[in-house]
Symmetry: C3
Subunit: 487 residues, 3 copies
Amino acid sequence: MKLEPTLEANRLFAPDPAQRRVARELYDAVAGLPIVSPHGHVDPRLLADPDATFGTPTDLFIIPDHYILRMLYSQGIPLEALGVPVRNGNSAGPATQTDHRRVWQLFADNLFLFRATPSGLWLADELRGVFGIAQPLTSDNAAAVYDELSAKLARPEFRPRALFERFGIETLCTTDDAADPLVGHGAIRASGWSGDVRPTFRPDGVVDLLAPGWRDRFDALSEATGREITRTATFLAALEERRSFFVTMGAVAADHGVESAYTASLDEVEADAILARALRGEATLEDARQFSGHILIELARMSVEDGLVMQLHVGSLRNHNRTLFERFGADMGADIPVAAEFTRNLQPLLDRFGNDSRLRLIVFTLDETAYARELAPLAGHYPALRLGPPWWFNDSLNGMARYFDQVMETAGLHNTVGFNDDTRAFCSIPVRHDVWRRTSANWLAGMVIRGIVEESEASIMAHEMAYGLAKRAYRLDGGDTAVDRLS
Amino acid sequence: MKLEPTLEANRLFAPDPAQRRVARELYDAVAGLPIVSPHGHVDPRLLADPDATFGTPTDLFIIPDHYILRMLYSQGIPLEALGVPVRNGNSAGPATQTDHRRVWQLFADNLFLFRATPSGLWLADELRGVFGIAQPLTSDNAAAVYDELSAKLARPEFRPRALFERFGIETLCTTDDAADPLVGHGAIRASGWSGDVRPTFRPDGVVDLLAPGWRDRFDALSEATGREITRTATFLAALEERRSFFVTMGAVAADHGVESAYTASLDEVEADAILARALRGEATLEDARQFSGHILIELARMSVEDGLVMQLHVGSLRNHNRTLFERFGADMGADIPVAAEFTRNLQPLLDRFGNDSRLRLIVFTLDETAYARELAPLAGHYPALRLGPPWWFNDSLNGMARYFDQVMETAGLHNTVGFNDDTRAFCSIPVRHDVWRRTSANWLAGMVIRGIVEESEASIMAHEMAYGLAKRAYRLDGGDTAVDRLS
Amino acid sequence: MKLEPTLEANRLFAPDPAQRRVARELYDAVAGLPIVSPHGHVDPRLLADPDATFGTPTDLFIIPDHYILRMLYSQGIPLEALGVPVRNGNSAGPATQTDHRRVWQLFADNLFLFRATPSGLWLADELRGVFGIAQPLTSDNAAAVYDELSAKLARPEFRPRALFERFGIETLCTTDDAADPLVGHGAIRASGWSGDVRPTFRPDGVVDLLAPGWRDRFDALSEATGREITRTATFLAALEERRSFFVTMGAVAADHGVESAYTASLDEVEADAILARALRGEATLEDARQFSGHILIELARMSVEDGLVMQLHVGSLRNHNRTLFERFGADMGADIPVAAEFTRNLQPLLDRFGNDSRLRLIVFTLDETAYARELAPLAGHYPALRLGPPWWFNDSLNGMARYFDQVMETAGLHNTVGFNDDTRAFCSIPVRHDVWRRTSANWLAGMVIRGIVEESEASIMAHEMAYGLAKRAYRLDGGDTAVDRLS
């Protein structure tokens, strides 16, 4: 979609008038392209039920958005005051604010904290571009805006499926646990609705032996596959079985979130011994590291076999704030990046499958120092490897500029994969893609002005960045997809 | 102060005329704001005696400035030729040049080495803006400039207190050893002079068990508190006692310089055993690391209790050049940064106090790779944490631009603390703040032009960056200050 | 040389018209300066024989260029299809394409992969500026361009010596194995041709105990010096002897490529024990690390004694793709950088020789995070240390901009050494220097516009960057050269 009412035409472009003119032309040609969203965290149930709604403005914009929560929390605002429910058994302490109008007012009162942040930009664009709120949100108009949003959210044209269509989403991939029965996805497919929504196989909960709740998820995997899993071979077979199910449900990709990109094959005896320790609740940090490193190589093998694109998200230390985690659970804005190494860590995996074009490995990093030093050279060499777009904290105007600067010269555009919005905030999807498209156009325009690429080349590149690269990288172009291989 | 005679109006601004116009407006509104200097290394004795002077131009600009010394030394100019005295017992070797006019000439002859460096910029601005020297310093006019400077330095209006007032310094914090009797600070307070000069508690000399001269400083702490210190509990009590004294002398902050941000609590027995080894001169590198990590958490606890803002300067490997250190001592331009890790290292401290707004922890890094990866996410989450401005080598035009680029989107402006000049060169204070104010204005103007913030918002942000953030971050705003808590 | 036909006058300059005007003036004054190329990989035999030619366009532009190969390979094009010969004994598998015209067509068909890459830029400039091909290469004109290139390459004015002269190369240094008899260099010197071509002493093959082919090279060194080498002292004497020979052949520099900058002196017994293990084929990774660290300090000592400039290229993990290495050998675009540490690693070496101006140590990094954090502070302090230009993947428009941004303020221009083209692609020499000269001019212009340097200063700096710094850094200025010291 092109966001309406029209944002400033030159929004996010560099100041130079000549560059702006070119950027504007490049952008205008791609602004309305369909959205391919191959990686994100939208709840498929939103789209499974044609009558699903987003709830209150606070339900939509604040409570589930860890970008918003963390910034307000960092300035001393308790999560309870923001309407965030505490976990079961944590009823002691301040009560959670249930008056969503008051939460919204508190948010508006502190909106200045988001100046110059991506969240501030996205919010402004959503309110204006998606919801047609004419004035910027302020303390003074917070109540009126709340009412206007509430009224709109109650209308059919603001239900998730209607917005999906209005946003021009061509494909939306969700992220789902290995044992997930994909009920929502089943309902979407059964409903006859035309929206292309696909699950993504994410087995982190069972691969990371020290993840909170590992045993529960492991048992769920066991149950979902009807297997008693005590040996690695059985574990791998269970994963393969689930992947097949995901493929039949439309999945084109798997996703793996790891603190480190370490890969190394274990022999079967070692792997089984580690799994046995884990099942006894005795796995060590080093056990978890070795097991993850071993399973990643096996998951790469599975991707070679079943064609699921392998995404690797590296370098987030989850739940850094233990007090907060115990009270509220995960995804409260307390996941903090750590340095990441790829050259040595990925070598064992690449040694096995790096030269095999059947593997499509897309790597994401929170450690930008790896862009120019490791990831661009690796992606610029191995046929199996692609480099994912700026992720999480780096999904921002400056993060994109750094990515273009540090990656493109060495990796080459065609070893990148376009954009991921990676969001659980459904209404932010078009504004996030719009930032990418504007930023891409601006970057390309800078090169046109410097005589590095011709405007005709830049125009092709802008289209690729907005649409083509993502489509092909995730094998959504009707070519050699995962489900084709099954048949 | 606004520097006079007026520098080029658009100095340091990006080339685009539209951006320049906005930058200029933003800058003009903050250029004359009072200077809050909450961290630096000015010798309080300069301000204790109303008749104190700066000595010769060489005393002022060259001998104490390790930025100047290192660059000249790097091109083969011996420190002796620059007038730097050798330490006691090092009389062998070349004699120190005592003719300051000759040192000045040598400096002027080599001034080309400082082209495009912060030192070159500061020097030019000081000569012109503070001392009214009309022409740039050259080999040819070096003697005449020396004479003009000498004459001015002899005049009352160029004494430290007069310049303090002319510079519009609202608050100046010094940095002082834990055992320092703060005689200079006492004299300032006793003198009835209106200048607001405050000490800062910096116990590095006793916390780092392997610091040169550790035993002497440890004994000085023992003496200053009248305690025989053989156990950690006594050591901590002695620190607490000294902090109380600093608070009564106006301190609002403590400061801690560490090679690594490692924190981890020891049990009392371990801590005491390490201290005992140190007192026997047997402490190992690992002992020093563990002790520092343990004491940092205790110092955070003290900050919670007494309200002193806790500054943490991480990542300088001191006295890298042993030959130079042995001959001339510390602070000769041979402190070299090392990589720094914060996510894992600070977790134990943050686990204890990160959610407690009574702690105000301001972190500084020489390793810019931590900006976007670790520090901005941490500061954008923990209520106790703020991120200090670009430090030392990064206190520069480009260093500031990188900081704005890599920090602000994720941390948010309000989790930063404005500017520190961090200088021992008193006359550079206004020019350093001027660079920050210009660079801030330019950064904000860039966002105005790109439609990211409104000009009205940018104007508020510019004021915060120049004045408000520092004032509040260091609890200088008359709110909940350290001395309030004592009473 | 100034490239002809004239490229766009403002190529690679920032968009702002005022900055462009200054950049253009600065560039125009240096564009035609002679080329000093103190480090590169041109084969001296090209220049030894006055009738040598470059072969086919494919021989010239594709087969030997690992930048080209890696990008095409990364998108699934087999090296065999690009005309790359397999190693002896690897005749199984697909045959190497021997029809160079077909390889050229394949290359042209995939030229879009090089958009916005340095290779794309260099190729375009070479075709137009060196070979006078009027139209950009496309699939459609590939055959015609091949013919035109072939015809030109057959003409005397496109022989290597003729181009050497047309390019205005004042000095060209090659890179040569420690045991190399320097036959090509001997022939050049004997021929009476005026071209100044010099060898560089690179003993990596014998210093890295785990380098592929170590034993063969070690034996070659033994043979070249007529020494049976079983002890470190003999090994060092052999290296010294070879260095003397290189000096007599015109060498001004040595070069050392290491994965890590680790330095540490061993005692003789340890060093000999490690060498003995290596000779038995039993050297460990740690042995190789310790031996390299020890020998680097000895090589620095030799540089102090014989005056050869010591270059240190740090941080490339060679032959990351084992499958490819086994099939095709080294230099296929599969060398991948790793993180590098300098502050602690270089301290032992600098402790010995860092204050000695007779040592000229030039450090290169593939890990840009060390620029601002470690290398600029080190180079801005130690008299012996200089910082080399952006290397390899960072030898690009953006890589240069990052280098100027992160290095210059702290190191100071005079602790840098101008440009290295570092190329084995002879015809890319002038275009690579042209990119540097344009980028330098643009950087300087940016500072002129911001009031940081005067235009007259920028003009001097541009000349230094294009010519003076390299000339003096490599002791090519007729001053205190290596060969002078021998006599």
